[in-house]
């Protein structure tokens, strides 16, 4: 270093700037917005989830794709009013649930950086409201725009009304977001930030699943006849009034609904403002409930298998159980991985439901077989990644053989990701084929999933938890889908052969399963040699 003067030349000449309490300082507001939006929208590692990526692109693409899917339902919708009502409800719920409680780490960072500055509570609140507006607008507009355009094309929505409907939706989403953050704040106080985040994220996945399902399988409301209970409830919701803000007439009831909406929006804004001003430091003062210290259920399950007499030490030797427990504990707690597999599981439940209602559930069973294999790859992706990737040195330096590492990963993936859809498939297989063949098919799928995990590690070896989380690449998605389809076809061939050949079919199936077991063992040994000498972290 050279030797510059210690204090700046004009030191001691700085006038102290103290903003007025209760007033919004525009320059500070501008600075806060730049800070917060850059942190929220720029490419990089998300401070809450540890996931690398571009949040803005992610939101626009994922909500846009869901919106495109939903737009397809305009083709089946019998009328504009019903379509808009469902669209607004879905968009408002999505935009609300997209706002989650901050993690304790992020809340602490925000507090330490921002609350130590001389910024009035009114300015802080205004910046928070502006950020909420950005999120509400991004999510609701990305989702709703394709559907509004489709409604304009198919259902007679005037093109002039498209921007008005969109603006109304964004305003509604913003008002709801203001109310939602109050609820979130209360939830964090009572339940802790982690539980609130988990709950919101789960709900969001369920809602996205419901929207996708309704867009693909929904038939729309039939015209004429008695209205269904769902449509009566929908009719009474403020989201429906909002959807018809511009298309309703001028009767007193219509005017009353518009007035009620304006009052509701104003009420949300006032509630947000009053609560925020009365407790400006509640964000920092809130102490979340302590983190869970108990091992997640899948980890306890693996360790319990390891404690079984005789078989336990063979199936899950100590080091294998330890590796699996570490992977499962982190996968269950880290933001980036704990919701992995949830969407697939919902899909599996859907297939199982379909299968149990069907006389010949070939497609649901093939679908479930496909999910077993895609879940295995999804689980492997979770087992590879951690937001503390550098800490994977613990596994590299531990006295654990590569084969133990690999088997630990196989157990973790098997119990957490493969077992749930496999159990659903198993129940359906028993009903369809009876016990002996069902048991063989389930065992075949389980061993096939293990073979897939070992093969994937043979092709691309990785230390468990040694990679930083990132959003799934297209290639990985295509591979998972491909293996899923292969699994489905495999099931159909195996089941058909076994049925056609009678008792001989069982023998053929058993030989096939033994073959998969052998291949799994062989690939496991080869993959273990590839794991030798790998380093932790990226």
């Amino acid at each position: 270093m050279n030797d510059p003067p210690i204090l700046p030349a004009e030191s001691r000449g700085t006038p102290v700037f103290v903003p007025r309490e209760g007033r919004i300082d525009r320059r500070q507001l501008d600075a806060l917005l730049r800070l917060l939006t850059a942190q929220m929208l720029r490419r990089g590692t998300d401070a809450s989830s540890g996931v690398k990526g571009h949040p803005l692109v992610q939101v626009v693409v994922s909500m846009g794709l869901l919106g495109l899917l939903n737009a397809g339902s305009a083709l089946r919708a019998p009328d504009l009013d019903g379509f808009l009502a469902r669209l607004f409800l879905a968009a408002l719920v999505l935009a609300t649930l997209a706002i989650t409680a901050e993690t304790d780490e992020v809340r602490q960072r925000n507090a330490e950086v921002l609350l130590s500055k001389p910024v009035a509570a009114a300015t802080h609140l205004a910046s928070r409201a502006a950020v909420l507006l950005v999120i509400a607008a991004l999510v609701s507009a990305s989702f709703a725009l394709p559907s509004l355009l489709a409604a304009s094309w198919r259902l007679g929505l005037s093109p002039w009304l498209v921007p008005l409907e969109l603006a109304t939706l964004v305003a509604g989403a913003f008002a709801l977001a203001l109310l939602w953050v109050i609820a979130l704040r209360e939830g964090v106080l009572r339940l802790g930030a982690d539980r609130m985040r988990m709950g919101t994220q789960l709900l969001l996945v369920v809602v996205i699943g419901a929207i996708a399902w309704s867009a693909v399988a929904g038939t729309g409301e039939a015209t004429g006849g008695a209205p269904s209970p769902a449509s009566v409830v929908l009719e009474a919701l403020p989201s429906t009034w909002l959807a018809r803000f511009w298309t309703d007439g001028w009767a007193p009831a219509d005017l009353g609904r518009r007035g009620a909406l304006v009052l509701l929006g104003t009420g949300c804004a006032l509630a947000f403002w009053r609560l925020g001003l009365s407790s400006p430091d509640v964000v920092f003062e809130t102490t979340s409930r302590p983190a869970r210290s108990r091992l997640p259920l899948p980890a306890r399950l693996v360790l319990a298998v390891g404690r079984l007499p005789v078989l336990g030490r063979l199936l899950v030797p100590g080091p294998v159980g330890a590796v699996a427990a570490v992977v499962l504990t982190l996968a269950g707690r880290e933001e980036a991985s704990r919701l992995r597999g949830f969407t697939t599981l919902l899909l599996a439940v859907g297939f199982a439901f379909w299968g149990f209602r069907s006389e010949t559930p070939l497609i649901p069973l093939a679908g479930l077989a496909s999910i077993v294999f895609t879940s295995a790859l999804e689980g492997l992706a979770a087992a590879r990644q951690s937001s503390s990737a550098g800490a994977a040195w613990m596994l590299v330096k531990a006295p654990v053989t590569p084969r133990h590492l690999l088997r630990g990963v196989q157990w973790a993936v098997g119990v957490r990701f493969v077992l749930p859809p496999l159990l659903l498939a198993g129940a359906l297989l028993v009903r369809q084929h009876g016990w002996p063949l069902a048991a063989l098919l389930v065992l075949g799928e389980l061993l096939g999933a293990r073979l897939l995990v070992a093969s994937a590690l043979l092709v691309r070896p990785a230390v468990p938890l040694g990679e930083a989380p990132r959003l799934g690449g297209v290639l990985g998605q295509v591979a998972a889908w491909g293996f899923g389809v292969a699994g489905a076809i495999g099931y159909v061939i195996a089941a058909t052969l076994a049925e056609l050949l009678g008792p001989l079919g069982l023998v053929v199936a058993a030989v096939g399963v033994a073959g998969v077991a052998g291949a799994s063992l062989l690939v496991q040994l080869l993959a273990a040699t590839r794991l030798q000498g790998l380093e932790a972290g990226e």
């Binding site: 700046p8 103290v18 600075a31 602490q108």
Partner: protein, 244 residues
């Protein structure tokens, strides 16, 4: 408004987190132009005190004046006079150092030309000018810590509150930080310095206070504190507390 009295006055300060009493009646007085060391074992309540001084959290009871301003009565006026380097090294890491300092300067109401000249000065002083445009996420822990120092110094605060500010810094930057603390004190500014690095505390601080279980056990020069605690040195005194 500010007066010519002490830089920091703390009287009967208490802070509770639920049933846990982190501070149990802390009383301190730090004069202007002092580098004041605040030491004690982990969990003694040091960070809690510093967060109250910086306006991050409210005391449960007691009176705190910083640069002549009551922290609880006029929090904005107090924050405007304090610079804070947090222990966590918290930053908005998708910004570059230059962006972060500019936006921090605006939050302190500095004029744009002053922000530029101050940021340039501190970027040079902490030898970070060549990395000023890089996202903070790409910097090492020590370089991020330098940015925390710069952000705390940008508005020329009367009182600098430092919570383990030398975390991750290299030897040369530690030397610069020590020089800086001494220069600030000579210039009439006050440094409130919390650390576990007792050898550095003994060198740079004019006086120290030892905090233990939320209470100040002793305050004065290092020699006075050591003898008040019945130990040959400050380090020995703290070792004794750690064994309790």
């Amino acid at each position: 408004m500010p007066d010519d009295g002490a830089a920091i006055e703390i009287e009967g300060l208490r802070k509770s987190y639920g049933s846990v009493e982190a501070l149990q009646g802390v009383t301190l007085r730090v004069e202007r132009g002092e580098v004041f060391g605040y030491v004690g074992p982990n969990g003694a309540g040091k960070t809690t005190t510093l967060k109250i001084l910086s306006g991050l959290i409210q005391p449960t009871e007691g009176r705190v004046r910083v640069a002549g301003v009551e922290v609880t009565e006029a929090p904005l006026a107090a924050k405007a006079r304090v610079g804070y380097v947090p222990e966590s090294g918290a930053l908005f890491e998708k910004l570059s150092a230059a962006e972060y300092l500019t936006l921090t300067g605006r939050l302190y109401g500095l004029a744009e030309d002053r922000i530029r000249s101050r940021a340039d000065h501190w970027l040079r002083y902490f030898d970070l000018a060549s990395r000023a445009g890089a996202p903070l996420a790409t910097l090492s822990k020590g370089l991020k810590q330098r940015v925390c120092w710069m952000a705390a110094l940008l508005h020329d605060p009367e009182v600098l509150v430092l919570d383990e500010p030398l975390n991750g810094l290299d030897v040369e930057t530690v030397a610069r930080a020590k020089d800086l603390m001494a220069a600030l004190a000579r210039d009439g500014r006050t440094v409130f310095y919390s650390s576990h690095l007792i050898d550095i505390v003994e060198v740079v601080c004019t006086r120290v206070a030892v905090l233990h279980a939320g209470r100040v056990l002793a305050q004065g020069t290092t020699g006075e504190v050591a003898s008040a605690l019945g130990a040959p040195s400050l380090e020995q005194a703290l070792l004794g507390l750690g064994r309790e």
